[in-house]
Subunit: 431 residues, 2 copies
């Protein structure tokens, strides 16, 4: 039992078709030949999740969240069985487990459940039999009792077990949670890029792969638009001290380690850029500056499941102020339906919206404490004639809203300003 | 709770796409408006099961049966959720349950499990809440303990629960088993034909829909090639005295009732014809007529999962005999690989095979006891110059093997000979 335990996670593009599934199986078999015990988490094949969503949308524009979760979870059941079959066919013992079979329980919130716990007994038992354990990602069993079954004493867990999904990117969370529970030696997230970059390499040719990045920096990058890793998975890794390795499923190359970075204090520097085009800006113009206005705006949006990102309210002039905020672009139509009646009710002048904006952020531990980063960022944008529409900051991040058609220029200019293409001395020591 | 309980089953063609699923939902809602409590069993959409099998075949030509069952079961999970969503969208409360959630347990044989029991508590609880309960057909949870989990006391059912499928046509079995367990007032099997016919109406324009047919007759027809109903489902209905109604999901018309037929003795007549083209004939020519030969032939075939249908061995001449039997045509290549080495070992003259044959059967309770049916059947075939290659009989059936290209002629001629287009007086009383 002293052989190392490795959790490997393969995303949808890594298992998109039979060829890729066979390639993933060979990679797993190679890792196992090194003597590791393996738990493998898989996402649904390619576009399966989108296809299932389209199927539901063809039936109804308001699918029941419980039914939708059962539907979506089948995508990962399918890919897990196929990876297991591919391993059998090359002589590697393997078994697929659904999320519930793997002992993953959640808080029961359909569509965006949080993992409540993992009972690892079945996974342990299968590992002890020498099998590679393939776990369907993105899902778990609800522990919430079904009220109307309370009267049925002894109703088995199976009867009352409800399948719940963890939301987009949830397989990352499954992998990190399993690694934490099983005290895995490594947690590898295989994806279609080689690791975490200083900026999106499709926009910035000079973008450099980072050998290591801190949890907090990674969370900010992910939250601000870097799509490689799920934010909640990084958070879970941070809380449980799981070193997460992001690497390519298509080539053998070192990836990026996400971990507590002991060199943060020495570094104190911009680590990466993130951008996000899925943004719309909403402004309530000349709202009377009275207590309770913000709540009357944001309560109904929250009730409709619309995520508010940046909020900016300027100082009041003549008893009125402009209230601006950003939301995911796909939610704009819904938000307008909710807000338009409020313009009259709140006695605001008008509602304006803009869906041709984007977010550009710089991220680095400690940059807020070090003077000059904000000034250099804003100066670089001004030098390139890029107008800043909104600004927000956190401890380790500065975010600007700019016109979407200037994103590429902005990211390239900022990458050059902060010399992100140059590796640091500390990085070599850390990597 | 005195409202009638109806089990409705919809096959794959009835839920093949979003339009048909919405139509099924409207049909269910109409039935519910009559005041019934409803349990609805669904198959996978259209060709889903075949597509999943093709996906597995693209990975390996020998998929693990356990993994294949998990893969195939997703088809019914999907259709069940979609039917439930469609009901919600027209204001009908509904909930989908997987086989395990519906309390269906099996004997644990992957790929062709038999239902071992049904714990109806969750279904009852959901019905009591006024919901239409949609059950994923074709599947159940294995009750077999997983040996390597025996050491984990208290390992929950969920951990050890293994999904098993019931084999082709298994959703019929799910429906009848639920109807038996829940003591349903009616069990309706909706399909793409209007009911059970005296012969395949695509071959015989005069074929007549039967208002009622006995369990045993239906089993023989199904076993001999009529594909409307699954044989095991009919058997289960017979044992549990469930009246099964076969009817069209596309039009409102009376179907065929499968039930204990009190008029069998009066009728004593051919009730229907069945034919089956999925047949190959295998003959071991001039096998030495010694004890143990048959076992040496059929044991290895059985071990390979090849189903033997008719077996004919003629009287011996000069210490040798010809041993003929039929198998499903798709199994012929596998059977030849097994049997060819046996020809030398058994000192037989040769192995001959013919995959251009078909079965044609007449079925009717009591026909074996009444003289003349066999003679009229063979005479009709002779009059039409159709050669009979093999014959087998049961209590209520006479089956012939003939050339496949004469099936249509044979079925039409036999339909006319036995005047199956003419309704009987007894039928009117029974129907």
């Amino acid at each position: 039992m002293s052989s190392p335990l490795v959790v490997m996670k393969f995303g949808g593009s890594s298992v998109a078709n039979a060829d890729r599934i066979r390639r993933v199986a060979r990679r797993i078999a190679r890792e196992r030949a090194n003597g590791s015990r393996l738990v493998v988490v898989v996402s649904a094949m390619g576009d399966t999740t989108d296809e299932l969503l389209a199927l539901a949308a063809a039936i109804t524009d308001d699918p029941d969240p419980r039914e939708l979760d059962v539907l979506l979870a089948t995508g990962e059941h399918q890919s897990a069985t196929l990876v297991s079959m591919a391993l059998h066919s090359i002589g590697t013992p393997a078994i697929s487990l659904t999320g519930p079979q793997a002992g993953i329980t959640t808080d029961g919130t359909y569509g965006k459940a949080r993992i409540a716990g993992i009972d690892p007994r079945r996974v342990d038992a299968e590992l002890a039999q020498g099998k590679v354990v393939i776990v369907a990602g993105f899902q778990g069993r609800s522990v919430r009792r079904l009220e109307h079954l309370e009267d049925a004493p002894g109703a088995s867990d199976v009867h009352a077990a409800e399948i719940t999904t963890l939301g987009r990117g949830g397989s990352d969370t499954t992998a990190v949670a399993l690694a934490a529970q099983l005290k895995a030696d490594r947690c590898q997230i295989f994806t279609d890029v080689k690791g975490i970059y200083t900026a999106d390499p499709r926009l910035v040719p000079d973008a450099r792969q980072l050998p290591v990045i801190g949890y907090e920096e990674m969370m900010e990058l992910a939250h601000q638009g870097a799509q490689v890793m799920n934010v909640r998975a990084v958070e879970l890794g941070w809380v449980n001290d799981v070193v997460i390795e992001v690497l390519s499923s298509f080539e053998d190359a070192p990836g990026t380690e996400i971990k507590e970075d002991p060199f943060v204090e020495q570094r104190n520097k911009v680590r990466g850029l993130a951008h996000d085009r899925n943004v719309a800006k909403v402004t309530l113009v000349a709202v009377p500056d009275q207590p309770g206005v913000a709540r009357r705006v944001f309560d109904p949006l929250a009730a409709s499941g619309i995520t508010i990102d940046m909020i900016v309210q300027n100082v009041s002039h003549g008893g009125a102020t402009d209230l601006s905020f950003t939301i995911p672009r796909v939610e704009l139509a819904k938000a307008k339906r909710i807000l338009e009646p409020l313009v009259r009710e709140l006695d605001a002048r008008e509602l304006t919206t803009d869906s041709s904006v984007a977010k550009v952020s710089i991220v680095g531990a400690g940059i807020q404490n070090a003077p000059g980063y904000a000034a250099r960022m804003f100066g670089t944008l001004a030098d390139n004639d890029i107008n800043i529409e909104m600004i927000s900051t956190s401890e380790i991040r500065i975010t600007t809203i700019i016109a979407e058609d200037r994103v590429e220029d902005a990211v390239r200019a900022l990458h050059a300003t902060f010399a992100l293409e140059v590796p640091e001395a500390a990085e070599t020591a850390a990597g």
